[in-house]
């Protein structure tokens, strides 16, 4: 077995353990490449059955339009159940990154929105596509990561995780976040996308797109809600990571295929999260967000 076979077998193992030992699992589907790989592995884990859980998308109304179109096409093609949750308080208050700032926007739409959805459906296991190579605090998170009834993560009081014996036991109200891609790297993800021919949102591939420069970050103008001080430029860009379009930086790239992306990655000198405006809010910001329940 090569390393992708081994990573795949481990991830499938994790999916099966979590489903066998939970009452109400759900897969947090954020439409990005990691979610695409996660969903592909879920299908493999339970084939010929369909994945025995719904997908949950915590929407912010600020995702790229191409992401939403891709999401709906995937769900329709595979015949899966999709729950879309939009924090009703954010909808009512019109929370957006321009007026309220990226930190509040993300906390209210994503962190609070996710908690609402998990509470409403009483999910006891939530699969996520987070990888340990993304950020320092994630490197220490367990594959089966315990959350209190208030969705809190306590990094200093994590359950030891030995061998492949995952502790799935929770009291009512408590839950487990399960990360089948914990040991994958960004390059592994792309190599696997290439090998398995997994569809991903076209925004990952280079194309000429309308962008503006915000403090050195290239932001794509995806709709007319974006306040503009000057007309956008047309540039050949792609995205390494996808989120809310006003908060997601594009990179100049000519990689139009997965093979070209893999080649570009091997020569890359910056990490994928560099394009994420929200991670740079303050030092240690990811750990702080995670303690509060951000994915």
């Amino acid at each position: 077995m090569n390393h992708l076979d081994q990573l795949e077998a481990d991830s499938i193992d994790i999916f099966r353990e979590a489903v066998a030992e939970s009452e109400r699992p759900v897969l947090l589907y954020s439409i990005g490449k990691d979610s695409s790989v996660l969903l592909h592995l879920a299908r493999k884990a339970f084939y010929p059955s369909k994945p025995p859980f719904p997908l949950l998308h915590v929407d912010t109304t600020w995702k790229f339009r191409e992401m939403i179109a891709f999401r709906d096409a995937v769900v329709a093609q595979l015949g899966l159940d999709l729950i879309v949750h939009r924090n009703p308080e954010c909808v009512a208050a019109g929370i957006n990154p321009f007026d309220h700032g990226s930190a509040r926007h993300t906390d209210l739409w994503k962190t609070q929105g996710l908690r609402q959805a998990l509470d409403e459906h009483r999910f006891d296991v939530a699969f996520g596509g987070a990888r340990r190579d993304e950020e320092a605090s994630r490197a220490k998170e367990r594959v089966f990561s315990f959350r209190t009834a208030q969705h809190q993560w306590d990094p200093k009081n994590q359950r030891p995780e030995l061998w492949r014996l995952y502790n799935t036991r929770v009291a009512p109200g408590e839950s487990i976040r399960v990360f089948p891609l914990s040991n994958w790297t960004e390059l592994d993800v792309w190599r696997y996308v290439e090998r398995e021919r997994i569809p991903v949102v076209p925004l990952y591939f280079a194309a000429v797109r309308p962008v503006i420069d915000r403090d050195g970050t290239l932001i794509m103008v995806d709709d007319d809600r974006m306040p503009l001080h000057s007309p956008p430029r047309q540039e050949l860009v792609r995205f390494r990571t996808l989120g809310c379009y006003p908060l997601t930086g594009a990179v100049r790239s000519e990689a139009r295929t997965v093979a070209e992306i893999v080649e570009e990655m091997r020569a890359a000198t910056t990490s994928e999260r560099q394009g994420r405006v929200i991670d740079h809010d303050q030092s240690g910001s990811m750990e702080r967000k995670k303690r509060e329940g951000y994915f």
């Binding site: 066998a20 059955s49 320092a136 990094p155």
Partner: protein
């Protein structure tokens, strides 16, 4: 490309995090933004006078940065042309043994770091023993900080020899010693001119070439000799999309599973009809594969079963000699009921010896149901288990099976005169009435009055009193936590036997721990246990102090006295709660009898 998992361990300040940071840096896995953050952090909180402090790369959590130490297992990834690596970085403090055990449990190889100037310390020996215990057979000894010792060959040879001498008793197949200076990058990736006398591999060259253990396990992935071994397949999930398909989804944990292979499942023999994956059926699946198996016959199989080659099927047993590592602040109490997860089964678990946090011991352990198993030395995946606390659900211990103590051939003797026959004769159902509460709460008085009332009605009763039993059956036990657990375990067993004999058993014991009361409840049938919480506040009990015990405890003449220097865990949902500050003893006894009627006992 192959995958290698390894662990790094060493004492505080031996330079582990620096080494890993260096490996990431030298293998060009540090992105520019990470590097920029590292430069900023190095200036702000670095320990290298503003120079790049690689340790900051690996020490992820904010608390660790502040304290300048690593406090948990961190997993890091890098790759070369030859291999993809997963590194478990584990801390060096003694109190964090559990993190090292965690990291080592999935590792194929270990890098042990030490400071050349300090030589082989007790920490080094402890780490080496854990690495050996967890079944890692290939070790690199990184003799670090040689830059601070003038790259002395004599020092390196001396340290290497002293480690080899110590490690002769451990189960290592191979030890490679590398002279190193991680902060300078000497012999980490490329060979250095500063150690011209060294002709062995650099650390990275060793990591690229080491061939891990030949044991068959999933975690050790690079093995060639595996095809000859007999197959093992762990059933994780029964796959039934519709009436036409019934598969067993799980993982090959040893040997190679082949289509048409004759396999044994429990006492049934069948064969593998199909090996199903989403990419099409397979003819064979090597160890480590996650697949779905369809059997030729409709054999009843469920989660936790292990399929094995019919020529050498896996054994089942419920009692083992095992090596245990305790991971939790609350120590292992002999006789206490825990849970153990082994393979894909979770069963009741008890051990016979006490262990404190970070202690390692050999013990006889007992599971409450037979489980398929193999010795940990033969099969890491079927020989390992974790111990879970029944109430908090915490992972409290880890174990490795040496061997089964006896085949599970002790059959339960079927008796003709059974409980039903006794109920018919007695005219009432048996029950344990368990009175718990502080010393001086009024348990014995209430129990006595309740028994009197039941006896007057012609019920068959017996009263087990804490003080009285401690004079006989439990006269060998004191008042430590471990003895309290054993005290209650014996009482619970005796009470359960009396229930089998058809009696209403009144048990009057402080019984301070929820876990033991839960055990007592589990030993008898549903509706045969009535927990009575004699709820008297500590201040009131202490004021009553009928036996003068509180005064003695306060004077320090009695140790481990419940409520004073030993905890009492009140029941969460008792069948009866008696507030003795408002109820008379007779009223309390009447309430107990009334509840027994409501439960249908009498």
């Amino acid at each position: 490309m192959e995958l290698l998992r390894f662990i790094t361990c060493g004492s505080v300040d031996d330079g582990k995090s620096t080494l890993i940071g260096r490996l990431l840096y030298e293998s060009k896995l540090l992105y520019a933004d990470h590097l920029a953050a590292l430069e900023a952090d190095s200036r702000r909180v670095g320990t290298r006078g503003g120079e790049l402090d690689f340790a900051l790369l690996v020490d992820g959590l904010a608390a660790e940065r502040e304290q300048g130490i690593t406090i948990d297992v961190a997993y890091r990834f890098f790759a070369t042309e030859a291999r993809r690596f997963i590194v478990a970085d584990t801390p060096g403090h003694e109190q964090y043994t559990r993190n090292m055990v965690t990291g080592a449990s999935t590792a194929d190889a270990a890098v042990l770091l030490l400071d050349a100037r300090k030589g082989v310390l007790s920490q080094t020996r402890r780490h080496a023993r854990i690495v050996s215990l967890l079944g890692i057979r290939h070790v690199a000894l990184a003799v670090n900080k040689l830059d601070l010792a003038g790259y002395s060959r004599e020092l390196f040879d001396e340290v290497s020899a002293s480690f080899a001498e110590f490690a002769a008793d451990l189960e290592f197949a191979e030890i490679t010693c590398v002279p190193m200076a991680a902060t300078e990058g000497v012999n980490v990736v490329g060979r250095s001119e500063l150690t011209p006398w060294y002709d062995g591999p650099t650390l990275l060259q060793w990591l690229e070439s080491v061939t891990p253990s030949t044991r068959r396990d999933v975690s050790s992935r690079l093995s060639e000799a595996r095809r000859d071994e007999t197959s093992r397949f762990l059933v994780q999930w029964v796959n039934r999309p519709d009436a036409t398909f019934r598969g067993l989804s799980g993982r090959v944990l040893g040997g190679t599973l082949r289509r048409d292979e004759t396999v044994r499942l429990g006492n049934r023999t069948t064969s593998v009809a199909r090996i199903v994956t989403m990419d099409g059926d397979l003819d064979e699946a090597p160890a480590g594969s996650s697949v779905t198996v369809v059997l030729a016959d409709d054999v009843d199989a469920s989660r936790g079963d292990v399929l094995g080659a019919a020529s050498d099927p896996p054994s089942l047993a419920d009692s083992f000699q095992a090596r245990l590592v305790w991971l939790h602040e609350n120590g292992l109490l002999p006789g206490r009921q825990y849970l153990a997860k082994i393979g894909a089964r979770t069963v009741g678990f008890t051990a016979t010896k006490a262990l404190g946090i970070n202690e390692i011991g050999v013990d006889n352990v007992h599971f409450d149901a037979p489980v398929p198993f193999e010795s940990y030395r033969t099969n890491r995946d079927l020989g390992s288990f974790v111990v879970l606390d029944r109430l908090s659900n915490a992972t409290v211990g880890a174990g490795m099976i040496d061997f089964a103590l006896s085949p599970s051939n002790v059959r339960w003797q079927t008796l003709t005169v059974d409980k039903q026959a006794r109920i018919a004769r007695n005219g009432h159902r048996p029950c344990v009435v368990w009175l718990t509460g502080l010393s001086g709460a009024g348990k014995s008085t209430i129990a006595d009055l309740a028994e009197k009332a039941l006896h007057a009605e012609g019920r068959h009763t017996f009263l087990l009193d804490g003080d009285n039993v401690r004079h006989g059956l439990n006269s060998d036990l004191g008042f430590t936590d471990a003895d309290r657990v054993e005290n209650i375990r014996r009482i619970a067993e005796v009470a359960a036997l009396m229930v089998d004999a058809g009696l209403i058993v009144l048990v009057s014991f402080i019984s301070p721990f929820r876990a033991e009361r839960a055990l007592a409840r589990e030993l008898v049938g549903e509706n045969e246990f009535c927990e009575v919480f004699v709820d008297t506040p500590l201040a009131v009990a202490e004021q009553r102090d009928p036996k003068g015990l509180y005064r003695k405890a306060r004077r320090g003449e009695l140790a481990n006295f419940t409520g004073i220097d030993s905890p009492y865990e009140p029941p969460v949902e008792p069948e009866v709660r008696l507030d003795t500050t408002t109820l008379s003893a007779q009223a309390a006894a009447d309430a107990v009898v009334a509840r027994l009627r409501a439960l249908g006992v009498c």
